[in-house]
């Protein structure tokens, strides 16, 4: 640090790569640079540790250590311990999950959910052994799931009015996400098209859908849509909601994808044209893979928003988890346990959205092929 520099240890050109000084790397280096980089920051770190301690002991005590998991009513809960009364959730858990789906038929949504996980594997991960047959299964999955959950063809029909809870959230969320992605990509491409009609229609659709609150579209779905349709054609409220949610999300997605499309350098298209690739091949093989990769954060943002917006269907009378929560809290036995009930619903949404978010980060890292020069062979 002070005094003359030490004499050269190595002749010029022979300096080997040395390890970094110990205090700049490893655990000690990390602690020093992140938590104790100055006296003021050291004080802040200690204060933060104290606050975390207070939070964990206070909230943790209420949520975990002093909580009651099974009881018959709120009064029974309070007789046992002073903390949260999770009994309100556990006694009505089946309603939170299935709504009013008949208990004898609940194996059907269970099976549909298990098959959903299998169908998602080849879509989410490319390095899957038997990917091609699995993709065919994923393509057939919507029909299989609709049959399992709704019934018909040998299974007793369960009307959509009986669906509710997390099951309903997943039905709307998964359908909305998988239907809006292709539609959003087509809209974004349409908006960039050289064909005037296509461009005008896409732009008008996007601007209209984004300019209207989802709630109004849901009201249109629940009340007005039947006026526009020819008399005699009435289709299910849930189907109408699914269509509206998908169209709404598609408009937002189209804008996220457009951001990606516009980030592709002109040279990429020129190189593809110079090779003689057709417009469609250029779009499919060169532009979209790069544009979608850039648009991942925006796309995931739309998906998470859509997923949480499914709770709006409670307003037109569908019993999503919030609808169930409202019904449960109306029961005199559980009156006043809103904190526990809504925390539980919030936890479910947080876990799903966090999973989506982590997946997208992983996908971004896996697709990051440019601007990284590594020394791998």
């Amino acid at each position: 640090m002070t005094g003359n520099p030490p004499p050269r240890t190595y002749p010029p050109g022979d300096h080997p790569d040395l390890p970094p000084p110990p205090a700049t790397s490893g655990i000690v280096g990390w602690l020093r640079s992140n938590l104790f980089s100055s006296p003021f920051n050291s004080v802040l770190t200690l204060v933060a540790i104290w606050l975390i301690y207070l939070f964990v002991t206070g909230v943790g005590g209420w949520m975990v250590f002093d909580s009651v998991v099974s009881a018959d009513s709120r009064a029974a809960c309070q007789a046992i311990d002073s903390g949260a009364c999770w009994a309100v959730v556990t006694t009505r858990l089946d309603q939170f999950v299935y709504g009013f789906y008949p208990p004898a038929e609940r194996w059907r949504p269970n099976l549909a959910f298990a098959l959903l996980l299998i169908a998602l594997v080849p879509i989410l991960f490319s390095a899957v052994p038997i990917r091609r047959p699995l993709l065919w299964f994923a393509a057939a999955y919507p029909f299989i799931a609709a049959w399992l959950i709704y019934g018909g063809f040998g299974l007793p029909v369960v009307g959509t009015g009986q669906y509710g809870g997390f099951m309903l959230t997943l039905i709307i969320g998964v359908t909305g996400i998988s239907a809006s992605l292709p539609l959003g990509i087509l809209l974004a491409l349409g908006r960039q098209s050289k064909l005037l009609a296509l461009r005008v229609i896409s732009t008008a659709f996007i601007e209209f859908s984004r300019g209207v609150p989802l709630i109004t579209l849901l009201f249109v779905a629940s009340t007005m849509l039947n006026y526009f349709l020819p008399p005699g054609t009435s289709f299910d409220l849930l189907v109408r909601v699914l269509i509206m949610v998908s169209l709404f999300a598609a408009a937002y997605l189209a804008e996220a994808v457009r951001g990606g499309l516009q980030a592709i350098p002109r040279g990429q298209v020129e190189a593809a044209e110079a090779l003689g690739l057709s417009r469609w091949t250029t779009t499919r093989r060169i532009i979209l893979p790069q544009a979608l990769k850039i648009a991942i954060p925006g796309i995931v943002n739309v998906f998470v928003g859509l997923y949480k917006d499914t709770t709006l269907v409670v307003i037109i009378g569908l019993l999503d988890p919030l609808g169930i929560a409202r019904a449960v809290l109306a029961d005199a036995k559980w009156n006043g346990l809103a904190t526990e009930t809504y925390l539980f619903v919030a936890l479910f949404f947080f876990l799903s959205c966090f999973a989506i978010s982590r997946y997208s980060l992983w996908l971004e890292r896996r697709l990051a092929t440019d601007h990284q020069r590594t020394s791998t062979p």
């Binding site: 040279g267 110079a274 003689g276 093989r285 060169i286 440019d370 020069r373 791998t376």
Partner: protein, 242 residues
């Protein structure tokens, strides 16, 4: 091979190419130089319709360039192009960059396309990089991949648009060496470049452009040692002085 007659091109009101006549025969190597904005890049970009001309005619190997998409695609599949900024596809590996056009334009079976790509990567001396992504290569390596990618379509003509201008000095030589080998194999080449050493060594003709016009068109010996036009002399004295 390439026949351009009475070619005019405007960008809005700007007259970028003025009455260009140029014929390149099979196996001929032509180097085009000139100050920036002289229209040299625009000229070769017109040949494969990356730019659209408004007057005059261009024909490549007997096919006249018209609005017809099939003519454009036929000419593009016969004409290879190498860009200043490489324009490799960053989401595809080196090998995939090379097999893309044979697979989707020539409809070649995957194994044949891969064999072809490996053959041309060998020709540009980077067979060992086949499974890397372009972002992991140096500039010179990327440009050689771009040359291999164009060669995989087995074009009759190769266009080079300032292929060494974006490279570090150390990497220019490896790209020029590849281009010299290509020239010696008999490829018809049209090269926009300021590499006068390259022009002297391989070019059959050197063309000087200024203000959208062809000012001088001569064999390298005459072009460098006995330029006819005053502007050519001025240009040469500027770029050869150091």
């Amino acid at each position: 091979m390439i026949r351009i007659t009475g070619l005019h091109k405007w960008y809005g009101a700007f007259h970028a190419l003025k009455d260009i006549d140029l014929t390149v025969s099979e196996g001929e190597r032509v180097v085009i130089c000139g100050p920036s904005g002289s229209g040299k890049s625009t000229l070769i970009r017109c040949i494969n319709r990356l730019e659209q001309h408004q007057q005059g005619s261009i024909s490549v190997d007997g096919t006249e360039l018209t609005r017809d998409v099939r003519d454009i695609e036929r000419i593009r599949s016969e004409v290879g192009m190498v860009f200043q900024h490489f324009n490799l596809f960053p989401h595809l590996t080196v090998l995939e960059n090379c097999t893309l056009a044979p697979l989707w334009v020539r409809k070649m079976p995957a194994t044949d396309a891969e064999a072809l790509a490996r053959e041309y990567l060998e020709r540009v001396h980077i067979p060992e990089q086949a499974h890397k992504y372009p972002g992991q290569l140096s500039g010179g390596q990327q440009q050689r991949v771009a040359i291999a990618r164009a060669l995989c379509m087995e074009p009759k003509v190769m266009l080079f648009d300032e292929p060494t201008s974006a490279l570090d000095p150390e990497m220019i030589k490896e790209v020029l060496d590849t281009m010299i080998e290509l020239a010696e194999s008999g490829m018809t080449m049209l090269v926009v470049s300021h590499e006068m050493g390259f022009a002297r060594r391989v070019a059959d003709r050197v063309i000087f452009m200024d203000g959208g016009e062809i000012i001088e068109d001569a064999p390298p010996a005459d072009f460098f040692d006995n330029p006819q036009n005053e502007r050519t002399r001025l240009f040469l004295s500027r770029i050869l002085s150091d």
